[in-house]
Symmetry: C2
Subunit: 308 residues, 2 copies
């Protein structure tokens, strides 16, 4: 099975309003709720690809209970660890006039030292049966900034390949613990390396400890610096839609390709096809299967020859 | 006891953000939750004034469960009727840079005919012990627009004075059923009567069926057209603060004054002192007791002599 870790799970709310006008009152015309946090999204896509997916991390309080209720019917196994605090909500306010989204993210519950210790025990147990693990998203309050580095080291000790998808200081610390794969976007990459030039920054990130760095370049696809070479995978055309969850779908593509021992060009093709099919799906975070299967034949992969 | 009816109860969330910028992403710095809906606010203030207060209306789903949990320790009795749908949230986003608030209100659960029938049974039972009833706020989806008119008629049949605080068509229908008191603000009054002139509009509203109309004029206090005469009660000075809940505190002042058979000038003084002390309180919807007691001696009441 493939394990995904979401330390700061969320109940993702979407409010549709006719037009968002600050400092006025709005009647929300439509409310939707779904279990969220990057690792949960990754697990959902893995399950849709036919993989057994287990989610862990923290959930607590009334919002955590709603999240777990909504997770129950999905084809992913819930191995979330209880916390006393209330799981956070994230709110996307969609302005129907412009289609633009305004995002409001709660910070999440404060996780105690005892809760972190309980999580580590669960994590160690789950690693025994894991073919790969994805470590995803922001850290809730109370969790030390080196937490992902610790989880990467434990995965390495258990012989389980680890993918890290986070940002800021947790990414900087985590990459130094030598994960198999990190998947920064261009902003995260620039923050990590100081370079705005994706190829240079991707190679720089790799030198910091990751075995492979796959940088997501938005509409330009992904750039992968691996031990076997450097490739760029590009979708056939720029698509319009909702990019929410596209990065998580790419992570699912990379992880499933790793577990299936696909060659790099096929892994990258799958990741780009899934990300693009997610942008094209009507509901945020889902992917459109017909588009996905079509895109698998139309993504372009080019190998970069070394500059020197 | 005094009964308050809130057909569309709400869990009131407040998010503080450094600055609200549409179409960007925000980290919420502080989240607060409290049970809300106008009738719940009225009951809380009634209890603080020493009255026994009972709240009814609807609550359901996970949000209704949180609301009832948070209501439990308060000195008001919970007689809410369960519904299958999820109680709505209202969200106030406070921009810390400007102090301004952006409000997003969910529509509320769809109430079925069976749930409405169950509510009417509870309402009839509670009316037997009620000295007065307040009918407060918007109608949830599924409730017919004449619902408040029906509740006013049932209160009259039970010999219980009814105060109606709503807006739009539910107010127009409700007022025709001859409640003892309606408490529109200037916008609601203008919408009802077509007149922007408060004195004229208040008398016009009274001719539509209410025994007394008390119009809230914001910083100018309140204007009351009663069977015994017309009065205006004015706070000593314009105050700065959060007006959320000021109208609900005024309703509690009017209802408690009715039950205590206070003369009109004393009732109006209490209503204005409570509303003003609510604007002055640090937490939205609470009132500042020291300010309240001070204001009781400083509110001005003037009688309007008839024009003809």
């Amino acid at each position: 099975m493939i394990l995904t870790v979401t330390l700061n799970t969320a109940l993702d709310l979407t409010y549709r309003v006719p037009a968002l006008v600050p400092h006025t009152s709005h009647r929300v015309t439509e409310v939707t709720e779904r279990p969220g946090g990057k690792g949960l999204n990754v697990a959902r896509v893995l399950a849709a690809l036919g993989h057994e997916a287990v989610v862990t991390g923290f959930a607590g309080g009334p919002t955590g209970a709603v999240l777990r209720d909504q997770l129950a019917p999905l084809p992913v196994r819930d191995a979330l660890v209880p916390v006393a605090g209330n799981t956070r909500r994230t709110l996307a306010v969609v302005d129907e006039a412009t289609g633009d989204t305004t995002q409001l993210n709660e910070p999440g519950p404060v996780v105690t030292a005892d809760e972190w210790a309980a999580f580590l025990t669960t994590y160690e147990t789950l690693l025994r049966d894991a073919d790969a693990v994805a470590l995803c998203g922001s850290l809730p309050p109370g969790i030390h900034v080196g937490a992902y580095a610790e989880l990467v080291r434990r995965a390495r000790a258990a012989g389980v390949p680890a993918l890290l998808d986070t940002s800021g200081e947790p990414l900087r610390r985590g990459i130094a613990a030598r994960p198999d794969l990190v998947k920064p976007n261009v902003d995260e990459l620039a923050q990590l390396t100081g370079s705005q030039e994706p190829l240079r920054a991707t190679h720089d990130a790799r030198r910091r400890g990751a075995r492979t760095v796959v940088s997501s370049l938005g509409a330009d696809g992904i750039l992968a610096a691996t031990p076997d070479g450097t490739w760029q995978a590009t979708p056939p055309a720029k698509v319009l839609g909702n990019p929410t969850g596209a990065g998580d779908s790419a992570v699912a593509g990379l992880l499933s390709g790793l577990v299936e021992s696909l060659p790099w060009p096929a892994r990258l093709t799958r990741a780009v096809a899934l990300a693009t099919a997610t942008v094209l799906a009507p509901a945020a975070g889902d992917f459109d299967r017909t588009s996905y299967e079509d895109l698998l034949t139309r993504v372009t992969v080019t190998e970069h020859t070394p500059a020197a």
